[in-house]
């Protein structure tokens, strides 16, 4: 066990956890005042449901022994983290439970990311059911494919086979371009199609109600993302430092890329554009941060910022209400980052593979394309099926009248802002005062 590595991974785990409230604020600021609390609650709901499931069987289903021909790992091998608590239970140079904690945050975040596609109209109970079923049937298996590397003995023989995308296909996905972002983006697209448009979209104005909140969320995401990417080195080492600097510079370039598109398309660079560009850059550099030089990171970031800024208009063209652009930012950004590794990978970087532009030929590129497509198709189809089952059994969507009045009131009996209007007064129900002396 290495103390420095352990300290860094535990710190990174906490950083990644902070990204989920970051997503909550990022999304929450973009919706209208009548639905900001529900937006926050979808992320908080994921923190509740997925946190518990991860410890019960999620970790085991992603990182245990292969079952079902490698579709997923045995959910009961480490049920409740049994057998992982001893001082001799290690994952590389860190305690197994440090790795469990770090990976838990990824699962929580991925579900929270999806929520932006179905803002303002998703009933909270069915959302929690969806979160539980989706992580079990989609995220945990995909995490197994992408993040579970073969366990080998001293002679290099495989003793504990891991996932096929990481080991057979040898896709480079350092921190989750496929498992987290393409996965969440494809699921968001499926749910947006399944639930349908919000009442009044796209004719009715649905302006973001609080852009400072969006920027706060983007800031928390950027901060936490250093844990997400540099923490994925699973050690306090040079790989962590390289991925850290790539995470910085790709995001900076993406922010500029998005603003440049806005300047020429819309006339003015916007705050929302800067925040969105930063997130697009973070998404794109996630798989690539170990595989490219800082110059490659700038290229990937700039391309992601500019292309995502253009991709968000697809929903108007095709008429699906991906409310907060989970597709335009996470699916498109995830594909860009995953596929561009095939072009920009450099043997100088920790992953030590050359891409097409560095004389490595087509080999890595086709692996990246196949890996991205596999996760996209699986996530989209599986999400559609899960969503349909929920839709036609317990129902998924809020009724139209409650949606127009506001989901915060309908689903949570709260309103976000008490700004001195006549309704901030109210009167306390007599039942609440029983037993009170005042």
């Amino acid at each position: 066990m290495d103390k420095g590595d352990t300290a860094w991974v535990l710190t990174s785990a906490a950083l990644v956890l902070l990204m989920t409230p970051g997503v909550a604020f990022f999304y929450g600021g973009m919706v209208r005042t009548k639905s900001v609390l529900n937006m926050l609650m979808m992320s908080l709901g994921s923190m509740g449901v997925v946190g518990v499931l991860w410890v019960l069987f999620g970790y085991s289903e992603a990182f245990g022994k292969d079952v079902a021909g490698g579709w997923f790992a045995d959910p009961f091998e480490f049920w409740g983290l049994k057998g992982l608590l001893g001082a001799d239970s290690l994952s590389g140079t860190i305690p197994s439970t440090a790795f469990v904690a770090f990976q838990a945050m990824f699962a929580i975040l991925t579900v929270a990311l999806i929520s932006g596609a179905v803002a303002d109209r998703t009933r909270f109970g069915p959302w929690l059911v969806f979160a539980a079923v989706w992580v079990t049937l989609v995220y945990f298996p995909v995490a197994h494919w992408v993040f579970d590397f073969d366990g080998k003995d001293a002679a290099g023989n495989v003793t504990d086979p891991g996932g096929w995308i990481a080991n057979q296909l040898k896709v480079i996905d350092f921190a989750g371009g496929t498992a987290v972002h393409i996965n969440a983006g494809a699921a968001g697209l499926a749910l947006a199609l399944l639930l349908g448009k919000r009442h009044g979209w796209p004719k009715e104005p649905m302006k973001p109600h609080n852009l400072p909140l969006v920027v706060l969320g983007a800031g928390l995401l950027w901060f936490g993302w250093f844990g997400f990417n540099a923490g994925s080195a699973l050690g306090a080492n040079g790989t962590a430092a390289v991925t850290f600097i790539n995470t910085l510079v790709a995001t900076s370039a993406a922010l500029l890329g998005w603003l440049i598109v806005e300047r020429f398309r819309d006339g003015k660079p916007t705050t929302l554009g800067a925040a969105s560009g930063a997130v697009a850059g973070l998404v794109a550099i996630t798989p690539a941060c170990s595989a490219v030089t800082p110059i490659g990171a700038i290229a990937i970031g700039a391309i992601a910022g500019a292309v995502c800024a253009l991709a968000i208009s697809l929903k108007y063209k095709f008429g699906y209400d991906d409310s907060l652009d989970v597709v335009g930012v996470h699916l498109v950004g995830g594909i860009i980052g995953t596929v561009l590794i095939g072009f920009f990978a450099s043997a100088e970087a920790p992953a030590a593979v050359d891409g097409l532009f560095y004389g490595g030929g087509w080999d890595q590129l086709w692996r990246q394309v196949v890996g991205a497509l596999a996760v996209l198709v699986f996530s989209f189809v599986a999400t559609l099926i899960i969503g349909m089952v929920i839709k036609y059994t317990i129902g998924f969507r809020l009724d139209p009248e409650a949606e127009v009045t506001g989901i915060d009131d309908a689903e949570h009996a709260e309103s976000a802002y008490q700004q001195g209007g006549i309704n901030s007064r109210g009167s306390i129900k007599a039942s609440a005062l029983q037993g009170s002396k005042a």
Binding site: P202, P205, K207, P208, E262, R265, D266, G267, K268, T270, L272, G273, S276, A309, I312, S313, Y316, D325
Partner: protein
């Protein structure tokens, strides 16, 4: 007595208020309102989606004065709220039947 209602650009409020105080008008009611006239609205863009914002923020200033001061008060408001650009606002005058000071019960011009 007359009620003078002025719709003005928000940033002119201090000038309007100072000018009225110098004239001896003690008291006014100000409210934030949204509207448009010839100026029309403006356009905002969020992630490439354009929104026409039809209504522009304005302030509504209301003062009640005696008949003799009406012309002077209107003139002072118009002078202090004018920028010469489109969207400076409007001022109108309506008759007031009576007025009561709540604290004392005084009526008419005594209550001003």
């Amino acid at each position: 007595m007359k009620l003078i209602t002025a719709i003005v650009k928000p940033f002119t409020l201090d000038d309007v208020k100072d000018a009225l105080e110098q004239l001896g008008v003690f008291g006014m009611t100000v409210s934030e309102v949204q509207g448009y006239g010839r100026q029309k609205g403006h356009t905002e863009v969020y992630r490439g989606a354009e929104y026409a914002v039809d209504f522009v923020p304005k302030l509504r200033v209301e003062v009640v004065v005696d008949d003799a001061s009406v012309d002077k008060v209107v003139e002072v408001i118009v002078d202090s709220a004018r920028t010469g650009k489109i969207g400076d606002g409007k001022v109108w005058v309506t008759p007031v039947e009576t007025i009561v000071r709540v604290r004392t019960g005084e009526r008419g011009t005594d209550a001003l």
